[in-house]
Symmetry: C2
Subunit: 404 residues, 2 copies
């Protein structure tokens, strides 16, 4: 006789974005003539840039010929990609990260969800509140979060670090010491970020209490201000306490192409054991590499043409962010984020829940956003809009919101 | 303070194929002039067929244009692929599997390794011995296997089902009742398989004791005999007790392209809960879909041209299998498998361990195979060769083995 992993049964409702997708599908079915504009899920809309398309075609051709065909990829990913990342994302910023500390994967979401597996079940996690749901849900599934309090929307063994307008969306160190600290900056969902000095404080804190930081830097490409670190390894000592997770989804439009990577420096050790060796073992046993052609596409992001084309693409999205920020501010909403990130976090009118606002926006304006409470209790009272829509639709959406 | 997942530390040595790769790399470095032929790891060598290459190019072009660009994939995978699979792999064989019971993934290895996550930690697993290491190692990492006995090469809480020449590589029902039964037919590593009647016995047994069968059918395309089932759902009642995992790696050469799928019928229930709902939750939370262009390539495998081209490719590999079988038999070795599978399982000379034979084959013949003991204690005394090499190399390898 078998039994199920009962931790799954503790999960309330379904994954946030699946829930939104269902509501939107119902609305569309009931209103087939209305054009719904989604500024909801953080999915990109601009096509892959020419440098990436060329690289994909070339790699496909390689797969057609016996001399250049590629079978199983090397365990950590192809050296051409890991070396490029080490040079372009790290050494160029003074970070001492070597290619063999970089693990290529099929995306940051999977890595964010899987990384907890190398830690003990009694390791306490700390997360920002609001937070990207995957960090918490993956720990729920692993049995690390205690019990759910439906009234509070919190788990008994998770340490929440509120991020609200009151603290400038910069979390305070928690009262209890966690073992694992999930940080995402530039932040999803708030669109805000920390300065390099603030991030250094977190690295110092983690070293002081013997914790590991899981640093989700999926939105790094959107950083516009100099005082913001592009990598946590710009902070002193981070290579002894921080794992950094990166994505190609948002800087290069790979949400449907799937590529990411995780940096596990060899210097992070728990007693005699390096975390690198554990993650390598997981990677080798439970994963089998990103497709060769996708890894080639990833490398093309770092070519001269690739970089120039992607810079332009990011600028287009950030112009959307500006339009959204400006439009909402004109309507009298308080808005945050959208400067170093493709997310705008707005305060919703008093007296409404964020799901009320979601419903109102969907039914009255046919615009889809994401209710703040879906990201945690401190997200209540806020609403997330994304800058990933196309330019015209984004303007129409804001015009519709003006009329609310 | 955090702690590590100590189950990882129980794992002996490193993953089998990583270990082999290391030995081979050392040999090559010491013998730069010798051409090493690998009939070891089950990696394919023939390039992707034209129908797949065309589909990849077309899909890449779609990603270049705003109107056809694809972002995040639907949670279970694209309907065009799931519907094709349901029709071609299941309904055509009389199996009542619907598209929404099919979960597209980046490969069978990941699914094989991840599927255990939806079961409780005290669920006992049963595996064939020898066995594909991923089934056991993923359960070790999850803490489900008890302690390792280095002398025996076994885990205290794993139920082993020996498959040897003595029982015709058809495992007996174990003495203790497992909750989860991993079966892989056509089998890796032995290259043997069960008849449909024998498989029906396993389905009946699983229903009788209330167990779930994880059926790894990665080598289905190599089945040549009529009495062998292509899917476990050809057996009566299997949709209430069996999860089937399939791969595009071996039938279509996707080892470096990455695509697979898992079938979780909605009828498998543990009390009130369908396993389908748990796997859907895991898929939605810890995974983010296979790339669109790869899913299009997968669909091309089922087109008329795709099917014809892949049939030819499989036939080429099976000709290698014939050459290996014949060559080894001529030398007086006892050989098994290679009829319904791309693996040949040979008995090694008495008095040698299978790693001894590995070393001898590598150093004397510069041929790489896989030692049987790497797949479990009952694999000792055997050696695996694969039919995935190219035609000429396979012949040369066999000629070298003749001279041993």
């Amino acid at each position: 006789m078998y039994r199920l992993n009962e931790n799954y049964l503790k999960l309330p409702g379904s994954y946030l974005f699946s829930g939104i997708a269902k509501k939107v599908a119902e609305f569309k079915e009931a209103n087939p003539d209305r054009k719904v504009i989604s500024l909801g899920i953080g999915d990109v809309t601009l096509p892959l840039v020419p440098a990436i398309i060329s690289a994909l075609h070339e790699a496909v051709d390689e797969m057609a010929s016996p001399g250049t065909f590629k079978g199983y990829a090397p365990d950590l990913g192809y050296a051409f990609l890991r070396e490029t990342i080490a040079a372009e994302d790290y050494r160029s910023r003074g970070c001492n990260i070597s290619p063999d500390e970089i693990f290529i994967s099929d995306g940051a979401k999977c890595d964010c969800a899987n990384i907890q597996e190398i830690f003990s079940q009694d390791t306490r996690i700390a997360v920002c509140d609001p937070v990207y749901p995957v960090y918490v849900d993956s720990n729920v599934m692993a049995g690390r979060t205690g019990n759910y309090d439906p009234a509070a929307g919190t788990w008994s063994r998770v340490i929440y670090m509120p991020c609200t307008a009151e603290n400038g969306f910069s979390p305070d160190f928690p009262d209890e010491d966690p073992g694992l600290i999930y940080l995402c900056f530039p932040n999803n969902p708030t669109g805000t970020t920390l300065t390099k000095d603030q991030l250094q404080d977190w690295v110092d804190y983690a070293i002081r209490i013997g914790a590991v930081i899981i640093y989700d830097a999926a939105y790094e490409a959107y950083i516009s201000r100099d005082q913001v670190a592009h990598s946590i390894y710009e902070c002193k000592g981070a290579e002894s306490c921080a794992i950094e997770i990166r994505s190609f989804s948002k800087n290069a439009g790979f949400t449907g192409t799937r590529l990411g990577f995780t940096v596990v420096p060899k210097a992070i050790r728990c007693g005699e054991v390096s975390l690198h060796s554990l993650w390598a073992r997981r990677h080798g046993t439970k994963y089998n590499g990103a497709p060769y052609i996708i890894q080639k596409a990833g490398a093309a992001c770092y070519s001269r043409e690739g970089k120039a084309q992607l810079k332009e693409q990011v600028a287009l999205y950030m112009e959307n962010a500006r339009v959204i920020r400006q439009g909402l501010a004109d309507c009298g909403y308080e808005v945050y984020g959208g400067i170093d990130a493709p997310y705008i976090w707005m305060k919703i009118p008093a007296g409404m829940t964020s799901w009320d606002f979601f419903d109102r926006l969907l039914t009255s304006a046919a615009v889809v956003g994401t209710p703040g409470s879906g990201f945690g209790p401190s997200g209540e009272g806020y609403f997330r809009l994304t800058a990933f829509g196309n330019k015209d639709d984004t303007k129409i959406a804001i015009d519709r919101i003006r009329l609310l």
